[in-house]
Symmetry: C2
C-alpha cells in the first residue's frame, strides 16, 4: 500500500511521523473519512470544506490548498489501483515542544491512506445491532461541529458496545438525549417521517447525514430534526445509522429489542447507492 505523507507518496511501512507530533501526544488534529467509488472520493468537496472549517477553528494552516489535496487523493487512488475503497485524510498540528501551548509547533502533518472496503456478501447486507452507551457527549460543545482527532470517548464507546456483543454504541448527550453513534449519525422513522437529531446538541454534522436529508427531499419524504430520549427510540418504525465510510446501515436491534425492517430505509439506501455510482 502506498500512502501520502506531507507531499510525498511512499510505502506504508516507510511512512512515519515524529514522536513529538501533537496528533500523537494530544489528539491535536482533524480527520475526514470518505467512500471512493469508481476512483473518485464521494462528496470530497463537502469533506474538504468541513476539514477547512475545522482547520480554521483550530488555527492550523495547511501547506496545501483543498484543490491540491484533491489532486493528491486522485493520485493516491491511482497509485494503489483502489478505485473502490475508503480514503482517510488526517491532519495534525505537527511536532511541537512539550505542553499544551501551540507556540513553536508545526509544520502540520498531512496524511492520506486508503483502506479496502469491508468484505461484503450480497446475501448478508450490512446491518447493525445498537446499544445505549454509558459514555456521554457534552450537549453543547463548540468542538462537536468538527471531526477532531480527540476521539478516545468514541473509541471506548464502540469497544464497550462490542464487548456487549453489539456492533455500535448510541451516545447520549449530557442532557440524556440521543446524540449520535460512536462512528456515525442517528436516523429513525416515526409516523413516516425521517427523523434525525439537530446539530448543536453534541452531534457532528455528518456529510452522509446531509446527503440523506437531500435524498429524502428528492424522494418526497418528510424529514424532522428533533430531540429524542433513548426510551422513545423503542417505538421508532425503523432506525438507521449513516457513516461516510459505510453509507446507510440499518439497525436490526436496539438495546436487545428487535427493530422492524423499514421499507423507507430500503428506499433511502437504494437511492444512496445509486447516487454513489452516479456522482
Amino acid at each position: 500500500m502506498i500512502v501520502f505523507l506531507n507531499g510525498n507518496f511512499l510505502p506504508e511501512a516507510e511512512a512515519f511521523i515524529s514522536i513529538n507530533d501533537r496528533g500523537f501526544l494530544l489528539g491535536d488534529g482533524l480527520f475526514e473519512t470518505m467512500r471512493v467509488v469508481n476512483g473518485r472520493p464521494f462528496r470530497l468537496a463537502q469533506h474538504l470544506e468541513r476539514l477547512t472549517r475545522g482547520l480554521d477553528f483550530l488555527k492550523i494552516k495547511l501547506p496545501f490548498t483543498p484543490k491540491e489535496l484533491q489532486k493528491f487523493a486522485t493520485e493516491l487512488i491511482a497509485k494503489n489501483k483502489l478505485t473502490d475503497s475508503i480514503l482517510r485524510v488526517a491532519v495534525s498540528r505537527g511536532p511541537g515542544p512539550r505542553g499544551y501551548s501551540v507556540k513553536n509547533s508545526g509544520p502540520p502533518t498531512v496524511a492520506m491512506t486508503l483502506s479496502p472496503l469491508p468484505e461484503s456478501n450480497p446475501d448478508e447486507p450490512l446491518q447493525w445491532t445498537l446499544v445505549t452507551s454509558p459514555f456521554r457527549v457534552p450537549a453543547s460543545d463548540a468542538l462537536s461541529s468538527f471531526k477532531t482527532s480527540s476521539k478516545v470517548l468514541n473509541v471506548l464507546a464502540r469497544a464497550e458496545a462490542e464487548e456487549r456483543g453489539a456492533d455500535e454504541a448510541l451516545l447520549l448527550n449530557t442532557n440524556g438525549e440521543a446524540a449520535e453513534t460512536a462512528g456515525g449519525n442517528l436516523f429513525w422513522i416515526y409516523r413516516d417521517q425521517i427523523c434525525t437529531v439537530p446539530t448543536g446538541r453534541g452531534v457532528l454534522p455528518g456529510i452522509t447525514r446531509a446527503v440523506v436529508l437531500e435524498i429524502c427531499q428528492a424522494l418526497g419524504f418528510e424529514t424532522n430534526k428533533r430531540v429524542i430520549k433513548p426510551e422513545m427510540l423503542r417505538s421508532a418504525e425503523g432506525i438507521f445509522i449513516t457513516t461516510s465510510a459505510l453509507g446507510i446501515v440499518p439497525v436490526v436491534a436496539f438495546d436487545g429489542e428487535p427493530v422492524a425492517p423499514s421499507p423507507l430505509v430500503d428506499q433511502i439506501a437504494t437511492a444512496y447507492n445509486e447516487m454513489l455510482l452516479r456522482e
Copy 2:
C-alpha cells in the same frame, strides 16, 4: 536528545511512529508528565499508578511493567545527563486498521522523552494570569479521571487564553462551575482555607494537587474541597495552579483583575520545593 521508544533508546530525530498509530489518528492513548529532580522523577510511583489505572480503563496492555518503565526512565535521564528536567511518558494503543473498533490493533506504542526546564530567573518567579475559557468540560465524565491523549479542548482553551494575552485558561464544567485549568488543577484561598475542586466534576485528580493537600496537612492548613462559580473566585484571597511539570504557579490576575499575593501560597510553594529536593 535521546528518547525511549518501544524498548529502544534512540536519537529524537530517528524516533518515529506509524502513520496508522491510533494515538495520532484518534487520540487513543494516555500520558503522564513529571518533574525530574536530581535524576529522579518526582512521585513517579503515583504517576505510574494513574497511568496503570488509565490503561486498565482503556484496556491497553503494555508490554512493560511499571518497574521496567521506572528503569527505562532512569536510564533515559542518565543517557541525556538531564538530571533536572521534565519527563513525559506517552502511551497509545498502537497501529490499527481504519475505524474506531479496537479489534486487531497494537502492539501499544510507548514513548518517553525529556525536556529541559523552562528558563527561570530567580528575580522573576513564575506567575500566571488566568482567564475564564469559553470552552467547557463535561461535569460528569468517566474519562476525566484519566490523562488521555484526547486533549484538543485543552489545547484550544490554552491557545484562546494566550491570544487574549493571558497565560492560562480556567475551564468551567457544563454546570458553569470552575473545574480545572487547561494544564493544571485550580486552588484558591478563602478565609484561610486552602480550597480546590472535588474530583468527579470534570477534574483530573492531579498528582501535584494531591501533594499540595498533603503539604497543607503537614503545615496544619485547613483544606476544603468545594464547588465554586467563577464569579466567586474574584473574592478569593489567593489563587494558584498546580501542574506536575511546573509545580505551584501563583495566579497574579484573574479575568483582568489583580489577585493579591498570598503568604499562604508562598509557604505551600516553599514546602513543595523542599519536598522536590528531599524525596
